[in-house]
Amino acid sequence: MTFTSWQFGLFAATVFVAYYLPPLRAFQVQLLVFASLFFYGYGQPELLALLAVAVFGTYLFLVLALRNRKGWLPVGIAFNLALLAFFKYKLLFIDPASPSLVGFAPLDFLLKLPLPIGISFFVFHNISLLVDLTRQKASPPTLTDVFLYIIFFPQLVSGPITRAEMFMPQIKPKYFADIPLVEAAKWILVGFFFKLYVANNLNEMTSYMSFPLYETLQTQDRWLLVFLYSYQIYADFFGYSGIAIGLGLLFGYRLPINFNLPYISASFSEFWTRWHISLSTWLRTYLYIPLGGNRHGIWRTYLNLMIVMGLGGLWHGAGFGYLMWGLLHGLLLVLERPLLARLAAIDFAVFRAARMTVVFVCVTMLWIFFKLPNFEHAAGYLAGMFTPSTNPNPTKLFYSLALLYSLPVIIQHFAPSSLFEGRLRYVEPYLYGFMAALMYLEAGPETSFIYFQF
């Protein structure tokens, strides 16, 4: 069940109504857990068992680690990482189409299970739960609360990755009067608008980036499509996160902001404080800092950056392309690090614009490894960007359409944030209404969220 389906609309509305009924107030957490299980099992009921194993296992290790952190915390983390590794990276070693894999039926069954949607996200939730609660030496939460934190349906599939210490204190009775309705409506509307109007329409064009279709493109169109994909992936994931945050607010939970205008970043380190913030925060808190962060000298810092970004790349998928993407981001962070202080000292608008352009172009080029996880295809696409096209019948792209579908991302990044704080405040609700109508009228063909695959 995806956020953009009518089934989801019906599901969310039903749960919302039931959630605030006074007789059910005492069971709000249980209701959300049940609804989240229904949401997760709707398309893949066979994977509910896996989710149960992940949650029950994590809960068990949490209880044990609260008694003996040193002994059980590493085991709990290893248990979760093993789950992730098994499901995400097994395809590196096996061919699921083969009739018998290891000759042992139960293991064959497990090996043939599809990648559980959202596993990368809920495994990170589990680790956060284990680390945060054992660090606080808190008393063990109830199993239902743990279930809710891990499988809360707005964030279950693609985040934002919420830290336990931020979510768990929010679990308490909720009242309809406390809902920030306008804020929730804004997040949900803008989220759907970015997904349906921007991302889905741009997806039609960027489908030509796939192998072997990209071979029909003219050289300048290959460049154009890379930038369109950059807008698309942002609109897609920002859209998902916006809907998740809005839904969270409707149920009384404030999820972390995941994006903060990433394409105006003037450095790569700034980019990672603005893009997929919940992931970069998670990686910093649970990986970079435990590795030593920047506390052990410059070379160790560089090594830590490369390790974190490489693993961050692999977290997205089991492929050399994802690893390359992560490592290249790591390399950019390493290269800019000695220069950052000097660059920041130059306070000049044109210079900052130039820095923003360099960062945007580099980040955009690296998205090719996301769009084409097969490294050979990505390399072929990149090579084609620098060689003249000889195809006598190239694909025709409508540049005007590309601009109009990208415009919301551009406006969002470059319109002054004070625009709606002055006199334009009064037209704001009408503009959100226009967006709602436009996403209905001009929605692109249905496609799943890009981050669902991770």
Partner: protein
């Protein structure tokens, strides 16, 4: 501003735009040729146009191979090409068969017949609900802009352009890498079972269509030499010709193969598509003459 007032204003904003687009759709209809960002988009536009406009004399149903034979390449004015890039010729044939009025002649491509019918598309275009309640404002604006920039060519201008294209020598575009890849795919795939099942459906559709007065002919588009000998091409040819052995069921096109070039060994390039189109028109003329 209270939440309710905000939400009411938001709803009003949405309603204003919806009403404006509803009026515009009622006033202008969907006469504008919307820009197609994908080949499937282009196909849907063609299918919508087929249902909206008077029934043509000739219809082509095919796959991406026939998709390359653009309608403007044909001198015959009342001809529609319902070929689906990436789709099956049977999808187009089903849609035509489900309409109340039929064209005089239906030409069915017999090169790629192993693909399943797109039942969603058949249902949608058989119900006839192809006209949206609201048009897409952004696409409509771009369509108007494109029409302003590129006014449609007259038949004479098109004919002149095509003549110039034919007078040029065949393309020297090196497509070996793509042709080799296509050959590998064409040798890997065995289309026999799927094609046999689809042939039964085609036979049934032909019987229904001919009972209602239309005539149905099959045709084959040329592949490059290596692809002609591939497992996919030879198997398909065997299955189709054993199902339809009567030569009168076939539209025989006579082309000079040395003039033809393929973008990837399978799909004709633009000049070759024009040459094949002209051969098809000559064959059609002889069909009319012998009738």
């Amino acid at each position: 501003m209270s939440a309710v007032r905000w939400l009411v204003k938001c709803g009003a904003g949405a309603l204003i735009l919806l009403i404006a687009c509803g009026f515009a759709t009622a006033r202008f209809g969907s006469g504008l040729q919307m820009p197609a960002t994908t080949t499937r988009d282009g196909t849907l536009i063609t299918l919508s146009r087929y249902l909206r406009e008077p029934v043509p004399d000739i219809v082509l149903a095919g796959s991406s191979l026939t998709f390359r034979l653009k309608e403007e390449y044909f001198a015959t004015p009342k001809l529609r090409n319902l070929a689906l890039a990436g789709g099956s010729p049977i999808t187009g044939l089903e849609i035509v068969a489900n309409q109340p009025n039929l064209p005089r002649l239906i030409l069915v491509e017999a090169n790629v017949l192993n693909r399943p019918t797109d039942t969603a598309l058949v249902e949608r275009y058989s119900r006839g609900d192809t006209e949206p309640l609201f048009f897409r404002p952004v696409r409509a604006a771009v369509a108007a802009y494109e029409q302003r920039l590129h006014a449609p060519l007259t038949r004479e201008q098109v004919a002149l352009d095509l003549r110039r294209l034919i007078e040029q020598p065949p393309s020297d575009f090196d497509s070996r890498i793509y042709a080799d890849r296509a050959l590998e795919q064409f040798n890997a795939e065995d289309p026999a079972d799927a094609t046999r099942i689809n042939m039964m459906r085609i036979e049934e559709l032909i019987r229904r269509l001919e009972q209602r007065g239309a005539r149905v002919l099959l045709f084959e588009l040329p592949y490059s030499e290596p692809i002609e000998g591939s497992r996919f091409a030879t198997t398909t040819r065997d299955v189709v010709h054993s199902a339809f052995p009567d030569p009168r069921r076939w539209l025989r096109m006579d082309t000079n193969r040395s003039e033809l070039r393929w973008a990837d060994g399978v799909h004709l390039d633009e000049r070759s598509a024009v040459i094949v189109t002209q051969a098809m028109e000559r064959a059609l003329a002889s069909v009319h003459a012998t009738k």
